[in-house]
């Protein structure tokens, strides 16, 4: 059965989606166990694949038994095995952590919710594992469509925000498809490996240049690179917490992975970074994305929206790291895909718990929360430290690689932008710690009398944590941030270094 793992990792959640739909009409209680079992199988497969491709092996699986380029093939190599594990584990942990939330938010539609949930995971896993440029588009459609639906449920403004996302997401997907169409016209092939063999001979063609640019533009829209980020903050803010904490850690990261695949694997790095000469401008776009994302995060008064803008800045990190075009930068970029997925999951799960208890995520209502929900807030702060980049959390290590990449490339503006964004993140998270811990004392100014009552109230705050089922997964994720940080050396030497094409120094 082992040689079938690449098929099983995708088809088990796919098949489970149909069973969940049926279960939703027969017995709602069955939906959750089926979903969790299917995602568990995926997670198991992804870890086995990770182990078998470590040290540079490549697994190719021909679907339908047709050899590429005639059929569709799956490729598991060092570039995508880590992202596979990240996607599968985020989907798996999030479904456990948000069980209670889902039951309350979608009492009549649990079946539909979990169906879309596993389909979304299927779509993303498929995007990551596929070795076929058109198959990637089809799975992009599945992930996007289910994502729109999941984000469309939530507060009153969620449907409109999701509609915005549909428009921009569809434009992005169309651009990608158009690019694949151009590639097919010029080469007659859709298989990525085959494409990379045919393309170098016709790099001079304008069709290829346009195919590359159109594909990238589509992916930039999909990954919300500034200034194409407009759909992201509202869509993530107004959606319900279980959907946000699934989609926010994964969508942008998987799109960054798709960009890596196109620039490094389908096209050669020499072409992407050298021949067409756009890498410098894209690093500058990334710099602007980092600065603008951080500044806009600073202007927010709600946790979810602040985190959404932090994601916009983080996308800038990864795009910039890749387009620096050197080994350290690309290592940082790949490492940051995994680390950012873990950090974002941690932060959004914590916010989900806060909203579950307090029904709001605005800064004004965080007062005294550090005493009321110590574990949740502790995990939130740990996630914040990781976003800032404090060792030994994982955020430090990917930022370290990105900065050394920037220095090696002589791109000091990128380094400065990274440091600036870290400083802004310090302000962002310490402001929250201040509100959550010290706020009652700050009322001194407004009047002596009030402060005493506040202080008494502050002391009386009882611990009111979210249910254990929500807190334990969150604490595990928070612990994982440190674990990932400590494992950085192993991850880089045994996996990521094989993922970077040999020509890059």
């Amino acid at each position: 059965m082992n040689q079938h793992l690449p098929a099983i990792i995708v088809t088990v959640p796919l098949l489970s989606a149909f069973v969940i739909t049926a279960a939703g009409w027969l017995n709602k209680k069955l939906c959750f166990p089926i979903a969790i079992a299917a995602l568990g199988v995926s997670l198991y497969c992804s870890i086995s694949l990770l182990i078998s491709v470590a040290s540079g092996k490549i697994i190719i699986y021909n679907l339908g038994g047709w050899a590429p380029p005639w059929g569709i093939s799956y490729t598991v190599d060092p570039l995508n095995c880590l992202v596979l594990v990240a996607v599968a584990s985020v989907a798996f942990i999030n479904i456990i952590a948000t069980k209670k939330n889902v039951e309350e938010e979608y009492p009549d539609k649990i079946g539909a919710f979990y169906t879309l949930y596993v389909l979304f995971a299927t779509g993303l896993i498929g995007i990551v594992i596929t070795g076929d440029a058109f198959n990637l588009y089809v799975l992009l459609e599945i992930a996007a469509l289910t994502g729109y639906a999941l984000l469309g449920m939530g507060s009153r403004r969620a449907p409109l925000a999701s509609l915005n996302y549909i428009f921009l997401g569809t434009i992005g997907a169309c651009f990608y498809l158009l690019g694949v169409g151009y590639l097919y016209i010029a080469t007659g092939s859709l298989n990525m490996k085959d494409l990379s063999a045919i393309l170098p001979a016709i790099y001079h063609s304008k069709t290829i240049l346009f195919a590359f640019i159109i594909c990238l533009t589509g992916l930039f829209i999909k990954m919300a690179l500034f200034p194409m980020h407009a759909w992201l903050p509202n869509a993530y803010t107004y959606a319900s917490s279980p959907a946000t904490s699934l989609i926010a850690p994964l969508t942008t990261k998987v799109m960054v992975y798709a960009m890596l695949r196109i620039t490094l694997d389908v096209f050669t790095p020499q072409y992407s970074f050298g021949t067409i000469g756009i890498s410098h401008s894209i690093v500058w776009i990334a710099i602007i994305a980092i600065i603008m994302g951080s500044l806009m995060a600073l202007a927010q008064r709600g946790l979810k929206k602040m985190l959404s803008y932090i994601i916009v800045a983080e996308v800038g990190y990864m795009v910039g790291g890749l387009w620096l075009g050197n080994r350290a930068g690309i290592t940082g970029s790949i490492l940051h895909i995994i680390n950012d997925a873990a950090m974002t999951l941690c932060l959004f799960l914590a916010v989900g718990n806060i909203i579950y208890k307090t029904k709001t995520d605005s800064f004004d209502d965080l007062k005294g929360l550090l005493k009321k929900m110590p574990l949740t807030m502790g995990a939130f702060i740990l996630g914040g430290l990781s976003i800032i980049g404090v060792p030994p959390t994982c955020g430090f290590f990917s930022k370290w690689y990105l900065i050394s990449g920037g220095l090696a490339a002589g791109h000091y503006a990128f380094v400065a932008a990274l440091l600036f964004s870290s400083l802004v993140n310090v302000v962002l998270f310490f402001r929250i710690i201040e509100i959550g811990f010290f706020e009652p004392f700050k009322e001194h100014v407004s009047g002596h009398h009030e402060c005493i009552t506040d202080q008494i109230a502050g002391n009386r705050i009882m611990i009111e944590e979210a249910p254990a089922g929500m807190v334990i997964p969150l604490v595990i994720v928070a612990g994982f941030l440190i674990f990932l940080g400590l494992m950085t050396g192993n991850i880089v030497t045994s996996i990521i270094q094989f993922a970077i094409p040999a020509g890059i120094s």
């Binding site: 088809t11 469309g152 016209i185």
Partner: protein, 276 residues
């Protein structure tokens, strides 16, 4: 702002046309698209799959994996529509209309009132569109079986002529939707309930993906229909042909059910009570 947008679109269009200047000639038999992978499909389709319609063999076998996900996209659209639109808790309308079948007299029952009696003498009608038109109803009903037979023909003949699961499924759904339009939504729901359409949409795609998984269990790669030979006993080539037919049937069922489900939810704003 509009003008800036127009200029941007115009410039993008010009760029795309410029980028297309390196395209191979229209219908050029020596273009990469017609020389790289296509010849293999054209030359081997009869030998490997026994399906003369190359479009079908590429769609459902050589690249059948893509098609499975295209069907899943349709399934996902149905579920998404259900999740976003369906209103499960029914709000009683202010008043309901009933027609006495024998005389055609319409009764308005105000809120809190009861239906005249449980006999079959009355039928509920929509509050907005009420004219009772025997000619339309009967002629549409006469059309339904013809439409359905044609749909089955389209599904079954995908091997030999244009057609297949997607087209046939849509035509099948059209027959039910025609009932919903010519009678009303409730009559259509009596023929195919919401529950049935949800089950069928899941079953349809399950047939497709399940066939793939069955091949995997039989020891071949996912969706390698040749493995079905050990069950069907018809030889590898015919097993592929039959495999294609099985998944086309699955696609037909799924597409039909999802189209109907979409119509139910969209036409009644998710209430599945009255609509169009």
């Amino acid at each position: 702002m509009k003008i800036i947008g127009l200029i941007a679109v115009f410039l993008c269009g010009c760029l795309l046309v410029y980028g297309a200047s390196d395209f191979p000639g229209w219908g050029d038999p020596s273009s990469p698209a017609s020389t790289h992978v296509s010849p293999y499909y054209i030359e081997t389709t009869m030998e490997f799959t026994h399906v003369p319609n190359i479009v079908t063999s590429v769609l459902a076998d050589y690249r059948g994996y893509d098609t499975m996900y295209e069907t899943t996209v349709i399934f996902g659209a149905g579920i998404a529509c259900f999740l976003l639109l369906r209103v499960v808790k029914k709000k009683d309308p202010v008043s309901r209309l009933y027609r006495h079948k024998a005389t055609g007299i319409t009764l308005r029952i105000k809120k809190g009132g009861k239906i005249p009696d449980k006999s079959n003498a009355f039928e509920r009608i929509d509050s907005e569109w009420v004219p009772y038109d025997l000619i339309i109803q009967i002629s549409c009903r006469l059309l339904v079986p013809l439409i359905q037979i044609f749909a089955l023909y389209v599904i079954a003949h995908g091997h030999y002529s244009p057609g297949g699961g997607f087209q046939g499924g849509v035509i099948l759904a059209a027959s039910i939707i025609l009932i919903a339009i010519s009678y009303d939504l409730r009559s259509a729901l009596k023929i195919m309930s919401e529950r049935a359409s949800a089950f069928l949409s899941a079953i349809g795609v399950f047939i497709y993906a399940g066939t793939g998984a069955l091949c995997l269990l039989l020891g071949a790669n996912f969706l390698d229909y040749a493995a079905l030979d050990s069950l069907l006993g018809s030889g590898m080539v015919m097993a592929r042909s039959h495999g294609i037919l099985i998944v086309e049937i699955g696609v037909g069922i799924a597409v039909m059910a999802v189209m109907i489900c979409l119509y139910y939810n969209l036409s009644s704003e998710g209430k599945q009570d009255e609509g169009l």
